[in-house]
């Protein structure tokens, strides 16, 4: 997994609530057997009106829109547990998702893939949408070490939560599997002492 410490980037704004993983990546694109290449189909039904007919109104198709931070409405990533959603966002080039609320499984999946979910207050989210809509060139800074997100040169910033284990993993690029494999002896001892359910 890639390390994440800090990021300074323009934002892509998607002020829609309850964006479910079927929108992020529809099931018909889940037929691959590797983790790569899902970015091409990210938000595909919103990006295209029909095959090969891009929807000019959708934010990712608008000229000048770019950035490694996606800002979205509350309850981002609800629905299916497909990790392909996190892979698609990462593969497309996003490194941070900002929202006022994340669905549980999505949050875990994102953290397991070096994609940082930053949960902010409803007020702060409204501010980002407002400031970045007025001035699309605004850069947002995400500092994982300090757990701080701040908007451009304004004084507007907010602390965000992340559990210290996950923070440690993100900063060092470690994943959960490395951690668990190191616990193999403890796991075997547990198996011996416990009559399984």
């Amino acid at each position: 997994m890639e390390k994440f410490v800090k990021l300074n980037s323009k934002c892509v704004l998607l002020p829609v609530e309850d964006i479910d993983t079927d929108q992020i990546i529809p099931a018909r694109f889940l037929k691959a057997v590797s983790r790569e290449g899902f970015g091409d189909n990210l938000f595909i039904d919103w990006r295209y009106l029909e095959e090969n007919v891009p929807n000019a109104e959708f934010v990712l198709n608008q000229p000048g829109v770019s950035g490694e931070i996606l800002v979205a409405g509350r309850n981002f990533g609800c629905g299916s547990s497909r990790e392909h959603a996190a892979w698609a966002l990462y593969d497309y080039g996003f490194r941070v998702i900002v929202s006022s609320f994340f669905a549980d499984i999505f949050k875990n999946n994102a953290l397991n893939n070096g994609l940082l979910p930053v949960q902010v207050s409803e007020e702060f989210l409204t501010q980002i949408f407002k400031i970045c809509t007025e001035k699309p060139e605004t850069e947002v800074q995400v500092n994982l070490e300090e757990q701080l997100i701040s908007i451009g040169n304004t004084q507007v910033s907010e602390k965000f939560d992340i559990n210290s284990y996950k923070k440690y993993c993100m900063i060092n690029g470690f994943d959960d599997i490395d951690f668990l494999i190191n616990k193999a002896e403890e796991i075997k001892a547990f198996e011996e002492n416990n009559i399984l359910a």
Partner: protein, 464 residues
């Protein structure tokens, strides 16, 4: 203070606690399928490690399989490759596979219980959010992502932060024509699609206890649609009766030992939940969804909420997609498709209910009605009971088992702009195919819609 059933099972499975971090949770059974496992197997290969406990891992092919001509090679090249990859992986890593053609094949959450693999007190995971279904047997079952699938394959454990607990109690007697699907759609409509986030739910109360095991599975199946990690129901005599004699149920002395343990699995009287909700069974009527998340449901006789102000931007977007008007009724709205299937409602009881309802009748001419049994065993039983003939006479197509139009990964899709009354669990935009408009309902309501060609109050059928 007493403990909840959830706490008891969880605590029993904690191997290690990371300071200010997640816990290492031991997993008793791991179900895998073709869509979310290939990347995990690839991960094991890259690390050059085996599946740690292959005997606790069970595989099937369900998400991406055709529901016709399953004996022939899969036509779609990508789907075929995915299913072949599962076969190859299971073979290489020593995992038992109930693939296409196997008498145990079926939707992963249907086969676990019907084979007796799913038992009380266990921890169960699968790379599919509706793993919560298994919770109906009084265990902790939840969906995980592919990285977590890899964790479980590598170590039989998964790193998890312990969720909070929620109690949902439903007391009273259900009205005629109201099924457990209506109960859960009603609860979600009350709590919203994110109302359970961060929680594990225990369902209880006299209305829940009165339900059959299959009906209980429908409730736990959809607990995830409130955003919850999962849902469970304390095991009782019905649970034990259901498991007894199943292919992988404990036998002989092992049965007695297990049974004695299972009987202890309940929430203590004085246990406290982080939150509690009460509902009355009498308040629930047959439900139907009008929007694009499962929380957007109403009683069949009710009106779609009005769009007013900016607070309902989500509602407005949903109604636009569904081409429905706020303030109008769904009753009488013409429909094009009916899908009866998915891990929510594809069990033998569901098929029996539908068959009983449509017996001797004909579906509306313009409606396409598809029934997809949850497993080979369900299919076999349906045929043994002659349900296939009844359904066929009524113009319903009985397909072969799989997830099918629940997620539209295979050919079974609803075309753009068409309305489909579906017994599945998600009405997201495009879930059943790009542009498809899904209305979630119970198998009875779906069958009634197939007969009349429009949204119908199933209670009308019971009047005379």
């Amino acid at each position: 203070m007493g403990k909840t059933l959830f706490d008891k099972i969880w605590n029993k499975h904690v191997v290690h606690t990371v300071e200010d971090g997640p816990q290492v949770l031991y997993i008793d059974k791991h179900f895998i399928h073709e869509v979310t496992s290939p990347q995990a197997f690839a991960g094991l290969r890259a690390r050059n490690i085996p599946v740690f406990r292959p005997l606790q891992t069970i595989a099937t092919a369900d998400h991406n399989v055709p529901t016709e001509n399953q004996h022939l090679p899969i036509k779609d090249a990508l789907s075929r490759h995915q299913v072949d990859t599962l076969i190859k992986n299971c073979d290489e890593f020593g995992v038992e596979l109930y693939g296409l053609g196997h008498p145990y094949q079926g939707i992963v959450h249907v086969i676990g219980p019907e084979l007796g693999i799913t038992q009380p007190g266990m921890t169960i995971v699968c790379g599919d959010s509706h793993t919560s279904t298994h919770g109906a047997f009084g265990n902790i079952a939840f969906g995980i992502g592919s990285s977590e699938v890899e964790q479980v394959m590598a170590t039989q454990c998964v790193l998890q932060t312990k969720p909070k607990t929620m109690k949902i109690q439903v007391d009273g007697e259900l009205n005629k024509g109201v099924l457990s699907k209506d109960v859960v759609l009603y609860i979600i409509s009350q709590l919203t699609s994110s109302g359970g986030t961060g929680h594990f739910i225990e369902f209880c109360g006299s209305a829940i206890e009165a339900l059959s095991m299959e009906a209980r599975m429908t409730i736990c199946n959809m607990s995830i649609e409130m955003g919850a990690r999962g849902g469970l129901i304390a095991p009782d005599e019905k649970t034990f009766e259901y498991i007894k004699g199943k292919a992988f149920a404990p036998k002989g002395d092992a049965w007695d030992t297990k049974l004695a343990y299972w009987k202890t699995l309940k929430t203590d009287e004085d246990a406290e939940f982080d939150s509690t909700f009460h509902f009355k069974a009498e308040d629930i009527e047959p439900m139907i969804t009008y929007g694009t998340n499962p929380g957007m449901g109403i009683g069949i006789s009710q009106f779609i909420p009005q769009v007013n102000g900016t607070s309902s931007a989500g509602l407005e977007k949903s109604l636009k997609y569904m081409e429905l008007k706020g303030g109008s009724q769904l009753l009488g709205h013409a429909i094009d498709y009916v899908f009866i299937g998915s891990c929510t409602n594809s069990r033998i009881e569901d098929l029996r209910l539908v068959a009983e309802m449509v017996k001797g009748k004909k579906k509306a001419e313009h409606v396409q009605a598809m029934i997809v049994p949850g497993s080979r065993q369900v299919e076999k039983q349906a045929i043994a009971e002659g349900l296939d003939l009844i359904l066929k006479d009524a113009g319903f197509e009985l397909r072969q088992p799989g997830c099918s139009a629940c997620l539209g990964m295979n050919e079974d899709k609803v075309p753009k702009g068409k309305y489909c009354v579906s017994t599945s669990n998600r009405n997201f935009e495009g879930r059943q195919g790009p542009g498809a408009r899904t209305m979630l309902a119970s198998p009875l309501t779906a069958a009634a819609a197939a007969l009349t060609g429009k949204i119908t109050d199933v209670r009308d059928f019971f009047k005379d």
